[in-house]
């Protein structure tokens, strides 16, 4: 049978006997046919971290980067610039760092352009930095840097570092998403979910998130966690935005019945990383997990009591919670990593675990040393917290 014959048969084969009043075209899932099953939340959330060769051999690493940069390797120029600008692995030197980044950017490296834009928009408060940042961002977009397109769009939607222009921002994000940028899909979905800079449209937001690979509550949670982890290594301004995006995903995951999402939201609220007004109270977020004796909930509750967040400060009650911790290994893993990033809360929890002899301090610090580091970071830790807790041992 030929094709032309078949055309005439459409009406015949489309028997009208199955007439129904509603027709679901399944447009929500048609987009999934395009993605070659490539976008998974797992991919985006499981990138390995690499601290680079400077950490394994600083002098050799620096020599290598400098020599390659001098020989014209634009990516060595960029990496050297990044490290000098942030003080990551090399003594911080903003001027020299910017110099290398500009040299690399002038040789058309879009990654260097994007970094320069980030610096000008998020870290440089001098007059004209916003315009300079926007210029670099535009250049990076023109050189095909898709993430720069996402960053530009996202800043225009949220007004981060640039005068808001939500329509243009949404257009840029859509263009990047059409080019298969998963992160653009996530951002669009998140903004639409919360009505952040764009008109609230939950269904459309969820559709974008599904396209990005988040088809259920636990994947939304994972995406949120990924964004939050990114915030930990970002500049303060960018971190705030990422934490808010994470919280939107946690809220949606919670709405879809994921219990862990409440715990994550509680963590963000307690730390003041997102506005309280947009979330339920800490009591509501934590109560179920406290009843289930969840270790993270206990530590969050203890830190809340120690800081007096939505409650009175009560170090004794907080200390009792640590005494009741049943599993401390995950707690140590998370908060010790925070201490490594210089977060005083990380020192406090690591020391607290040591005080109750729930974990051996990985750096070999005494409890009192950890508590001092927490105090230096603004925690009003009572002196008695320097001592080892004996109650549990005696009982």
């Amino acid at each position: 049978m030929t094709v032309t014959k078949a055309i005439a048969a459409v009406a015949r084969s489309s028997e009208p006997d199955a007439k129904v009043l509603t027709l679901d075209l399944g447009l929500d899932s048609i987009v999934l046919l395009k993605r070659q099953q490539k976008f998974s939340v797992k991919n985006i959330a499981s990138a390995s971290t690499f601290r680079g060769w400077l950490e394994s051999s600083p002098s050799e690493g620096e020599r290598w980067l400098r020599s390659r940069a001098r020989d014209g390797d634009v990516y060595a120029m960029e990496k050297l610039g990044r490290r000098l600008l942030t003080g990551n692995g090399l003594p911080k030197s903003i001027e020299e760092g910017l110099g290398w980044l500009k040299k690399s950017a002038e040789l058309a490296n879009p990654f260097a352009m994007e970094k320069l834009a980030e610096y000008e928009l998020d870290e440089n408060d001098t007059p004209g930095s916003s315009a300079e940042g926007e210029r670099w961002l535009r250049n990076a977009v023109e050189h095909g840097h898709r993430f720069a397109m996402v960053s530009f769009g996202s800043r225009l939607v949220t007004g981060a570092g640039l005068a808001p222009d939500p329509d243009q921002g949404e257009q840029l994000l859509c263009a990047a998403a059409q080019q298969n940028s998963q992160i653009a899909m996530i951002k669009l979905g998140t903004y639409l979910l919360a009505g952040w800079g764009v008109i609230h449209n939950r269904e459309e937001g969820l559709r974008w998130l599904r396209r990005a690979g988040a088809t259920n509550a636990s994947q939304l949670l994972e995406l949120g966690f990924y964004l939050y982890q990114k915030s930990l290594t970002s500049t303060t301004k960018a971190a705030r935005g990422l934490a808010r995006e994470a919280s939107i995903l946690f809220q949606e995951a919670r709405r879809q019945g994921n219990p862990i999402a409440s715990l994550n939201l509680a963590y963000l609220v307690r730390r003041g990383e997102i506005a309280n007004a947009s979330c339920p109270s800490l009591d509501e977020l934590l109560s179920m997990h406290l009843n289930q004796k969840d270790s993270f909930a206990f530590v969050n509750q203890a830190l809340r009591l120690a800081r007096g967040v939505q409650c009175n400060i009560d170090w004794k009650a907080a200390d009792v919670l640590f005494e009741k911790l049943e599993d401390s290994s995950n707690v140590l893993e998370w908060w010790f990593a925070r201490s490594r990033e210089g977060d005083p809360e990380g020192h406090l929890v690591t020391g607290w675990l040591g005080r109750h002899q729930l974990a051996v301090d990985p750096d070999g610090f005494q409890v009192a040393q950890r508590m001092d580091l927490a105090r230096n970071g603004g925690w009003l830790v009572p002196e008695w917290m320097n001592d080892l807790a004996t109650a549990k041992q005696n009982s």
Binding site: M1, V3, A6, A11, G26, K34, R146, S181
Partner: protein, 404 residues
């Protein structure tokens, strides 16, 4: 083996009459295969049993089994040899040959595609950019023979449909003036696979090692430097061997962006070829998991044939009594039920697929939907159908059935 001794002697005699001139060898080999067709004289089991039990095998060529799974040399003559190639996995490799002769389908069946290449830039001896396009596609059945012409005159892929498939190849040992032997990546690349540069090969292996061991960040860190400084052929090989191991779209994009700074034309040409290669490998993997022979055939078409008319033709060739569009609709439904698309095809999707395959106009499509669902009362039907139509045509797997 006695039969191949006879075939070898016949070919030897015919070629001697032509003064061992390579130009005549395709004709000589074809005549030999037509006078003594292997499929009428030996079976798959005869050859296998003989090879495993005979006192002494002829000297074996291609020990690393680069072409054949495995290749078995059954006769060695003056400047030519006869091989039986076993195939257990269909590989849609498009290639030319640095030898000439003829091949014969002895067991099973194959899908042969003839391709053309219009070069636009010879980047290096081993690498050229241009346009790879399908010229002809045909089904080869047991007993069919085809000539092999050395060089760019015959660029083809022979995808073996059955497991195992066996081809008998009567070929010259190699013709120096036809080197290098190019392989092709549609739609844009020709490259020499043999005679690897040792340092490029070893570095490729090291880069793969990083990705296979989960060291993505390390790979990205070093790859930018390597791609930004090495020559075009090296960068091509590195990307060819590692791209599909990078699952994250953003990382893939950034790598191409980094490499494109030094090799913009290469990367512009390579990007669509890499995406097709990734698609091809995914389909090969799906095909491996599926045992239904009809679905295997359909997947072979989606894998090898980039356009609708040729696909419909081949379905008609293979299943003369079936309507090709109905067959494709059935197979699409079955594949979706097996989870291949990651989402199950609904009735409206299948109706839209039918309309697209029939090249129905927008009005005809609306009428088909109205006829089946009485949708005249449903608002936004036109835009909904438009979205459904473009969504289906965007399907990574079904794309070729919509290409004219």
């Amino acid at each position: 083996m006695e039969f191949f001794q006879r075939l070898g002697s016949l070919v030897s005699r015919l070629w001697k009459e032509r003064n061992y001139n390579e130009e005549h060898f395709p004709e000589v080999a074809s005549r030999g295969l037509s006078e003594l067709p292997p499929d009428l004289h030996v079976t798959f089991w005869d050859v296998t049993k003989w090879a495993l039990t005979c006192e002494r095998l002829p000297g074996q060529a291609d020990l690393s089994a680069k072409f054949g799974q495995p290749p078995l040399t059954v006769f060695v003559g003056r400047d030519f040899r006869i091989e039986v190639l076993f195939w257990v996995q269909g590989i849609p490799a498009i290639h030319q040959h640095s030898f000439s002769g003829a091949f014969h389908v002895m067991h099973g069946s194959s899908l042969q595609c003839l391709w053309g290449f219009e070069p636009s830039e010879q980047v290096a001896m081993r690498l050229a950019l241009g346009r790879v396009s399908l010229k002809k596609a045909e089904l080869l059945r047991k007993g069919d023979s085809r000539p092999i012409i050395a060089g760019r005159q015959l660029i083809h892929s022979t995808f073996h449909l059955d497991r195992p498939s066996l081809t008998v190849v009567v070929r010259t040992l190699g013709e120096i003036d036809q080197l290098p032997q190019y392989s092709y990546l549609p739609p844009t690349i020709a490259y020499a696979q043999d005679h690897d540069v040792p340092s490029v090969l070893r570095r490729t292996q090291l880069l793969r090692m990083l990705l296979i061991s989960g060291k993505r960040a390390e790979y990205n860190e070093i790859a930018h430097h390597v791609f930004g400084t090495e020559d075009a052929y090296s960068v091509f090989q590195f990307l060819l061997s590692t791209f599909e191991l990078i699952e994250d779209e953003e990382e893939q994009h950034n790598l191409l962006l980094a490499a494109g700074l030094k090799h913009p034309r290469l990367i512009r040409a390579l990007e669509p070829a890499l995406l097709q290669l990734e698609r091809r490998n995914k389909i090969v993997a799906i095909r491996e998991r599926i045992s239904n022979s009809d679905l295997q055939f359909f997947l072979a078409l989606l894998l090898n044939i980039p356009e609708r008319p040729a696909i419909l033709n081949l379905v008609e060739q293979r299943y003369p009594s079936r309507d090709p569009i109905t067959a494709i609709l059935t197979w699409a439904r079955e594949l979706s039920e097996l989870g291949v698309f990651g989402v199950r095809f609904t009735e409206p999707w299948l109706l839209m697929l039918q309309c697209l395959l029939m090249k129905s106009s927008g009005r005809e499509t609306q009428e088909a939907f109205s006829g089946r669902y009485g949708t005249k009362q449903i608002p936004n039907l036109e835009s909904g159908l438009g979205e459904l139509s473009s969504g289906l045509q965007d399907s990574w797997l079904l794309q070729p059935v919509f290409q004219n």
